[in-house]
């Protein structure tokens, strides 16, 4: 019921203080917030709130004896009193949006134009800081936030991976997928599966290596992808095995390969030697179902047998698919996870031989551990941290500039204060200028980002996969830039504005040149310069550590010769080879290549040492080795031809290596590395031991360790299986040369073309180039930290120079007096340079401390150097102090040249 104000219960004048506590608190809030309200309305505002609170209090306590109110009522009063904050803010806001804001902005624009030098430097600085951040923002948005452009349902789509006891990111078999889709777990609208694979496409002329996605019929509808031409694939295209030779081209492939010719719809092209009819082209933005990859053609799942080996549509144990699920609206990942786990449990019970201990894990698209997005994750983290630091340095520099500017405008401000302007009014005026700077700086930042976002190509790891490095800029970019610029200028402009508007009328109006600058102002600028130096030190130490990492990695003994090797990949599957024909071709290829002059030996391997993602692994059993509780024996392995060890120069420690007779017809043979031998046969009798790999294989030899992943990584247990027994059609040819490997690329190509012109040779690279792939992340980080660290150092030096130059000009009379009293020029030098070096040294000390604290986080990426490496820290300190010396030298020289007579005449 609402009380009538006129007839409401009369309040009593009781002073029992504890009972009135809620009212007191509410009044205190009014009192506290009142300063926010513009002065002309403040008194009325207070009276209104006090009266209303009083009335409400009276109403609440009206019928309660002794004014005791229940906590609920007290809370009611307090929550009503909470309205004072928005009310006060609304009044304040309205007083700002009045015409004064426009005039502030106009005045600000005029003052900025009258000092074009200051404005240009400030805008460029901001543009650099904002631009660097906007660039990283554009990348993150492209590769993490919008992983599948062109797919309109993507916000509801999640990725499903199979799980084992130890892993949560394995693929799924087709029969398991089909059962999952048929049982439609709770919360899941639809399921689709896809597999990314290399194919040979031929229209007319030479075959071309292209990338296909084998997709189930629901794929396009689940993703919400429309056709640009013709139609996309539907469930009707995916009913009978081998019965739907149709394909959809990606928009880019259509443009690149067919010049966007609409007549291609309905025509036939050959994929891996099988004719397919083109039925459509997918939407322009759609790159395919693999985040950050670019697909060329889409093929129905039922055509699997012509694209990948085996009949994978019926093998429940053959896990090869990535599965996507579209969740029902409002369904969260936990709900979907519960439903999927229930189905996984059913499947484990029905097919215990392959599904025991198998589960399903749900991931959001941007968190897919298997996709290329995962590769970019760490790169983005480093990038984000570094550009954030650059922005901080820029802001510190900007704040320094604004302080100097405030100091030089002190007279103007003092006049305005004397004429009756309020301090708030002056601050608002100064901030309006900052807003203009922010707008211009954001514009400069966007221009910078548009240019720099193309540099992303440099951040893509070299990889045989078709990683798509094109960055699409969104309309969020200018918004992000403007928001960041406004936040930066307002936060960092507030302190200088507060200082500049500090009322100190009389001295300012007299415009006497004090003997020292305002002490507070100087202290703040010192702090800003020192923190710039500190942040630069952090970046430079990081740069030095990664530079040392690169140098170490290049010298690192990886177990084989890097200088005289050539690598080239072949894939026999698209060309239609089965195992016997494939092995025969590879054997003849090795023989042909070994006949080339300048070639010492050649071999074939499935995986290569020094591989970014590691190689293949399997869980196994070892005869006579009792694993500890919970220990799972994970064995990394490679499949190699007999000449592998000779070609890479891997030393044989015991037993023998493979010969042509190790082809699985006799005893199953395996060669292991020293680490594996020591680990599982500590008695040294590895040769003759047996490993269970689905059947027992006998260890015939032990070879030296190689570096399988990054240089410097701990050696792992590794074994080699004969390629002749464990055949794979997609392999790499390794050639060891007598001299420079570049000269034999053509003869190797000719050798393969002579054997079969339909098999393309791809990813031709030298061993050293291959090694550089694993050094990709250290190299990027070193380059980035080096470049930005240098930029940061220049900024800090400029900041230091500005500070000292300003201080010297302020102290000219003091220096004049010193010189007149007999001070030597050298002492004046020392005075100024000493001030600069002292500031820089304290900044360096803080920066090195920060580095010692933060850089251990990056330990895993460092090779042969600790995160607190003395050399790196000393180098950074030396470079920074050198820069600081140069920055202080020029002002010091000016100070030393002060003419005492002229300096003193001003007083």
């Amino acid at each position: 019921m609402t009380p009538d104000p006129d007839l409401g219960p009369a309040p009593r004048r009781a002073d029992d203080a504890p009972a009135r506590l809620p009212l007191r608190l509410a009044r205190a809030a009014v009192h506290l917030v009142a300063p926010i309200v513009p002065a002309d309305r403040r008194a009325g505002w207070r009276r209104q709130w006090e009266a209303d609170l009083h009335y409400q209090w009276a109403f609440l306590t009206g019928d309660a004896a002794g004014h005791r109110v229940s906590p609920a009522r007290a809370l009611d009063l307090l929550s009503r009193a909470g309205g004072v904050v928005p009310h006060a803010l609304a009044l304040r806001y309205r007083s700002w949006t009045m015409p004064t804001l426009m005039s502030d902005l106009r005045y600000g624009a005029r003052t900025l134009v009258s000092r074009p030098g200051f404005a240009a430097v400030a805008v460029l600085l901001l543009g650099l800081g904002i631009g660097a951040n906007a660039t990283v923002f554009a990348w993150v948005q492209n590769f993490l936030l919008r992983p599948l452009p062109g797919a309109t349902h993507v916000s509801d789509v999640v990725v499903l991976h199979g799980t084992t006891k130890t892993r949560r990111d394995i693929s799924m078999s087709y029969p398991n997928f089909a059962d999952l889709a048929a049982r439609r777990p709770d919360g899941v609208l639809d399921l689709a599966a896809e597999r990314f694979t290399a194919v040979n496409v031929r229209t007319s002329g030479d075959p071309e290596r292209a990338w296909a996605e084998i997709v189930t019929g629901e794929f396009f509808e689940l993703m919400g992808v429309q056709p640009a031409e013709g139609r996309v694939l539907s469930p009707d295209d995916d009913r009978t095995p081998g019965g739907h030779p149709v394909t959809v081209l990606s928009y880019r492939y259509w443009q690149r390969r067919f010049q966007a010719d609409p007549a291609v719809i309905g025509s036939t092209l050959s994929i891996n030697g099988h004719p397919y009819t083109v039925v459509g082209v997918s939407a322009p933005d759609f790159r395919g179902g693999m985040p950050a990859m670019s697909t060329d053609v889409f093929v129905p799942m039922m055509m699997q047998a012509s694209l990948t080996p085996g009949n994978r549509l019926v093998e429940r144990g053959n896990a090869w698919l990535t599965v996507y699920a579209r969740l029902a609206p409002g369904t969260g990942i936990p709900t979907a996870q519960a439903g999927l786990s229930a189905v996984a449990a059913q499947l484990a019970a029905e097919f215990p031989d392959v599904n025991t201990d198998r589960g399903i894990a749900v991931y959001p698209l941007s968190g897919d551990p298997q996709s290329a997005t995962g590769i970019f994750g760490p790169v983005f983290m480093v990038l984000g941290a570094v550009v954030g630091i650059v922005l901080l340095i820029v802001c510190a520099n900007l704040a320094s500039l604004l302080i100097v500017r405030g100091a030089s405008r002190q007279r103007e401000i003092a006049v305005r204060l004397a004429l009756g302007a309020s301090r708030a009014r002056i601050i608002r005026q100064l901030l309006a200028e900052n807003v203009l700077l922010a707008i211009a700086g954001a514009a400069a930042g966007v221009v910078f980002a548009v240019w720099a976002s193309r540099l992303f190509r440099g951040f893509v790891p070299p990889s045989p996969l078709p990683i798509d490095a094109t960055v699409q800029l969104s309309s969020w970019l200018p918004l992000f830039s403007l928001g960041l610029a406004l936040a930066a200028t307002i936060v960092f402009g507030l302190l200088p504005a507060l200082q500049a508007s500090r009322p100190g009328l009389v001295p300012a109006l007299r415009e006497s040149r004090g003997t020292t600058g305002g002490r507070r102002r100087t202290r703040l600028r010192n702090l800003l310069v020192a923190s710039q130096v500190a942040l630069s030190a952090l970046l430079l130490v990081g740069a030095a550590l990664f530079a040392r990492t690169l140098a170490n990695a290049e010298r690192f003994d990886v177990g084989f010769d890097l200088d005289r090797g050539l690598l080239a990949s072949v894939d026999l599957l698209p060309a239609g080879y089965d195992q016997p024909r494939g092995l025969d071709l590879l054997a003849r290829l090795i023989a042909e290549v070994e006949r080339i002059p300048g070639v010492e030996s050649a071999a074939i391997a499935r995986d290569l040492p020094l591989k970014l993602g590691g190689g293949s692994d399997t869980s196994g059993r070892i005869e006579g080795y009792e694993p500890a509780r919970g220990e799972e024996i994970t064995l990394f392995y490679d499949r190699v031809s007999p000449g592998f060890f000779r070609t890479l120069g891997v030393p044989l420690r015991d037993g023998r290596v493979f010969t042509a007779r190790d082809d699985g017809t006799g005893e199953h043979a395996v060669v292991i590395n020293e680490t594996m031998a020591k680990r599982y046969w500590p008695d040294g009798k590895a040769v003759g031991g047996r490993v269970w790999l689905g059947e027992w294989a006998t260890v015939i030899g032990v070879v030296g360790d190689l570096t399988y992943t990054t240089p410097g990584a701990a050696p792992v247990a590794f074994m080699y299986l004969p390629l002749a027994e464990y055949y794979r059609p997609d392999v790499t040819l390794i050639v060891r040369t007598k001299g420079d490997p570049d000269g034999i690329v053509r003869p190797v190509r000719q050798a393969l073309a002579g054997l079969d012109p339909d098999v393309p040779l791809f990813d031709v690279r030298t061993m050293a180039q291959h090694r550089d792939m694993v050094l990709f992340i250290p190299r990027i980080v070193a380059t980035l930290l080096g470049a930005l660290g240098a930029a940061a150092m220049v900024l800090a030096a400029v900041g230091l120079y500005g500070l000292l130059a300003f201080s010297v000009s302020q102290r000219t009379p003091e220096i004049g007096i010193r010189l007149a009293l007999g001070a030597q020029r050298g002492q004046v030098y020392r005075l100024v340079v000493g001030q600069g070096l002292w500031l820089a040294a304290s900044g360096v000390a803080i920066g090195l401390g920060l580095a010692a604290l933060l850089l251990p986080l990056a330990s895993s990426q460092l090779i042969g150097v600790g995160p607190r490496d003395v050399v790196a820290y000393a180098a950074a300190a030396f470079v920074l102090l050198g820069g600081a010396f140069l920055a202080s030298y020029l002002p010091a020289r000016r100070a030393a040249r002060v003419d005492p007579i002229r300096a003193l005449r001003y007083e």
Partner: protein
């Protein structure tokens, strides 16, 4: 300047027209929070849709409480309220249909 009034603003005008004369009463009648009602009252006063007056200090003093700020509708305020109410009246009751479970 003529602008469409938000539903909250119309509710406040309606409450004042209904005889609720100051802040907390209007809150109780509209169910809006103090953070909405008070700024809205100031805005309405700037737009001259309501006017406010301080109650006679002597009356308040006699009753042992601070004087209150009372709000009243202006003729212009009465007009926009009538107009807005007319507009809401065109929303006739309908059978309420909600989004179905279609897949597209």
């Amino acid at each position: 300047m003529k602008r469409g009034l938000s539903f909250g603003t119309v509710a406040i005008l309606h409450a004042i027209a209904d005889g609720k004369r100051f802040g907390f009463d209007i809150m109780a009648a509209t169910g809006l929070t103090s953070g909405t009602v008070y700024p809205a009252l100031d805005r309405l006063e700037d737009q001259r849709f309501v006017k406010s007056a301080w109650e006679d200090a002597r009356v308040a003093h006699r009753e042992g409480r601070p004087p209150r700020r009372y709000f009243q509708l202006t003729p212009a305020g009465g007009e926009v309220l009538a107009e807005a109410l007319q507009k809401y009246k065109t929303l006739r009751p309908v059978t309420i249909g909600v989004a179905g479970k279609g897949r597209r």
